[in-house]
């Protein structure tokens, strides 16, 4: 397909997807109404069930076409349930299916929320905080030590995760149909099963294990055999007891953020236009933004404008070769973290090696299978992002550094004036932090700082900007957010932070924070530095009036 038609196709497809979603909402209302009717007009049940079956069938057949695989799966399950209830016991089972549908219709509604979430995430960031709450992550913890399990539950729930506790693999496996897990955490030694969970999982591969669900292990017993079995199961983490909970939460948050990160941008450099378009289509199919280099002589400008995570480049091209163009890009310091990968039919290993030496990161061979291209590109985008983050972000918290956050505050205030919308600055400071450092040491202090950073990252919108302002001081910028909303969300974070139990050599302690908010519309025409001072003053007021609270700056 020519370039312009590809674009057109994607646009039209997006338009159709929107139409589908709005129709879907009406369809859901209809389905809910019908299910409600089931018990009201019992003599019409058979007819209503036929109608429902038909509607589920349609939904199963269409959801996946628009990218909603969950919807298809769930609708298909309901359809089959109705069919089975009809076939098995035509009379006796009708009440069963009625109760069943009533009890489980929320599963379908959940999948609709997924639909909403994908749409709203791109359409409007404003409601993200609400969506995030609905989109709660469900973590299965398989742990027979009830005391530890309960403790972990409280800890993880204060970070907004929903924890399901099980004392055996069997009981967890039986729950999968009711609530799909987003992550699995196993204790390795489960006494009730008299076995090692890594062994059981490798032997039985219960339904619960699936490739998309991240897997972590916790154990008292750090042995090579346990670790190798965990690796065979594809585990993403292995944590020793006594658990360093903030570290565990940090990892959990990273895993979930990686799963929801935007898929990234790729610039293709290839003289074979047809092939380039084909790669573009394949990568766009999985949501990656793709552009094709128009003019080799403009490569620097095109890269600067599009800001790709990855450059996918042919080796042999008529005007300028891949290594020559890579050489040019490597002359610019600001592009040092750009990942460059050759995609070429060159078979000669020596030439491949030589090309890599000239500033590229890797070599992929043509012809390449679509799925292989996708996974190679995704993996490298991920790596390139990790490197970029390491450079521009505070190394401990992964948040913006002091200078950058001040600059961002200035930009956002200017933008809010242009848009005539409020922006709120929030200064947060951990209470009595010096005591934490003095009593428990700097390593523990770092854990505390990191925990607050995680909470902020989790609870705020993607458009909000979070920076580490000083040692234990954070600055948060909430664009398009009034003071009331800001106080609500920050106070919620304050409460959560206060509930986190920290642990130093078996000794438990808690921390609190004080925060000051200042909203642009409260004051007439302040510069960003002045608004920053207002939020700082409000934060000190919070400290003076007893700490562990949020205070808004008044005019």
């Amino acid at each position: 397909m020519p370039d312009n038609i590809v674009l057109d196709f994607n646009q039209q497809l997006a338009g159709l997807k929107n139409d589908y979603i709005s129709n879907l909402k009406d369809e859901f209302k209809q389905i809910e109404k019908l299910i409600h009717l089931l018990s009201v007009e019992k003599n019409k049940n058979a007819k209503i069930l036929d109608d429902l079956q038909h509607r589920f069938h349609k939904m199963a057949g269409s959801g996946g076409t628009f990218g909603f695989d969950q919807l298809t799966k769930q609708a298909r399950r309901f359809e089959n349930d109705i069919i089975q209830s009809k076939e098995s016991l035509p009379h006796a089972s009708e009440p069963n299916i009625v109760t069943y549908l009533k009890d489980n219709i929320h599963l379908l509604i959940n999948s609709l929320e997924e639909v909403h979430a994908t749409v709203s995430a791109s359409a409007s960031e404003q409601n993200k905080t609400e969506i995030k709450l609905k989109n709660e992550k469900h973590i299965y913890l398989i742990e027979d030590d009830l005391h530890l399990a309960e403790h972990l539950k409280i800890q993880l729930e204060s970070f907004g995760y929903h924890l399901h506790l099980f004392n055996s693999i069997d009981s967890a496996d039986k729950h999968v149909d009711k609530q799909k897990p987003d992550m699995l955490i196993f204790d390795i030694i489960l006494d009730s099963d008299k076995k090692n969970s890594t062994k059981i999982l490798l032997q039985n591969r219960p339904n619960l294990l699936n490739d998309n669900c991240p897997l972590l292990f916790i154990t008292q017993n750090d042995s090579f055999d346990n670790r190798i079995r965990a690796a065979k199961l594809g585990a993403l983490g292995f944590y020793l007891k006594p658990l360093n909970i903030p570290m565990l939460v940090n990892r959990i948050t990273d895993i979930f953020e990686q799963k929801t990160a935007t898929p990234g941008k790729v610039l293709i450099v290839d003289d074979d236009k047809q092939l380039a378009l084909n790669y573009q289509l394949v990568l766009q199919g999985v949501g990656i933004e793709v552009e094709i280099l128009k003019n080799s002589r403009e490569i620097y400008n095109e890269v600067m404008e599009f800001k790709p995570d990855l450059l996918l480049m042919d080796l042999h091209m008529p005007d300028y070769s891949g290594p020559e163009l890579a050489g040019i890009l490597r002359q610019y310091d600001n592009l040092s973290s750009l990942s460059i990968v050759y995609l070429s039919s060159e078979q000669n290993l020596e030439i491949q090696q030589h090309a890599i030496n000239k500033g590229a990161d890797d070599f992929l061979s043509k012809p390449i299978h679509n799925t292989q291209l996708i996974s190679a590109v995704k993996y490298r985008i991920n790596r390139s992002r990790i490197i970029k983050e390491k450079i521009s972000r505070d190394s401990l918290t992964g948040l913006m550094k002091h200078a950058n956050i001040k600059e961002a505050a200035k930009m956002e205030l200017m933008r809010s004036k242009r848009n005539k919308k409020p922006v709120t600055l929030v200064m947060l400071d951990i209470d009595h932090f010096k005591q934490v450092n003095d009593t428990y040491g700097h390593a523990t202090g770092d854990v505390v700082i990191n925990s607050l950073a995680i909470l902020l990252r989790q609870r705020l919108r993607q458009t909000d900007i979070i920076g580490r302002y000083g040692g234990e001081e954070f600055l948060v910028i909430l664009p398009d957010c009034n003071n009331k909303f800001a106080i609500n969300i920050i106070d919620d974070i304050r409460r959560n932070f206060n509930e986190v139990n920290f642990n130093y050599q078996g000794k438990k302690f808690n921390c609190s924070l004080s925060a000051g908010t200042a909203t642009s519309t409260t004051f007439s025409d302040l510069q960003s530095d002045e608004l920053l001072i207002k939020s700082d003053q409000a934060m000190y007021k919070a400290k003076e009036s007893g700490r562990n609270r949020v205070v808004a700056a008044q005019e």
Partner: protein
């Protein structure tokens, strides 16, 4: 060698009609005619003279299988492959559909990116001998 140009798709759901038309026309470059019911399809099929016919199974009024049956009675369509597009893809059902005279099944939900290729492959596999 003949080439695949015209596709007739019988489907009652507007969302799916639109995305299938877009996918087959834009990605595949085919000429596509959509009918919302089996009755409509029977009225125009001979005039449109498609190279391949795709039928939804569950439709109000004439469903997919009865549309297929009526089409198989038209001698002008003797060499035109007819396939079902359906969300039901259990082996027993596929056999049942084939015994009715369908050449194959395209499972739903389909992927708009690859639908054209699927249809083309299906057509090539069923070229008149």
């Amino acid at each position: 060698m003949p080439s695949l140009e015209k596709i007739l798709y019988v489907e009652d759901e507007p969302d799916i009609q639109a995305v299938a038309k877009l996918a087959l026309e834009t990605v595949g470059g085919y000429t596509v005619h959509i009918c919302a019911s089996g009755e409509d399809a029977l009225n125009i099929v001979e005039e449109f003279n498609p190279d391949i016919i795709l039928l939804d199974v569950m439709m109000p009024g004439m469903d997919g299988p009865s549309t297929l049956k009526a089409m198989r009675e038209k001698s002008s369509l003797n060499n035109t492959p007819i396939a079902f597009m359906t969300a039901k893809v259990q082996a027993s059902e596929i056999e049942n559909f084939k015994s009715l005279g369908a050449v194959d099944i395209i499972p739903k939900p389909f992927d708009p990116m690859t639908l054209s290729e699927q249809v083309k492959a299906l057509w090539e596999n069923n070229l008149p001998k």
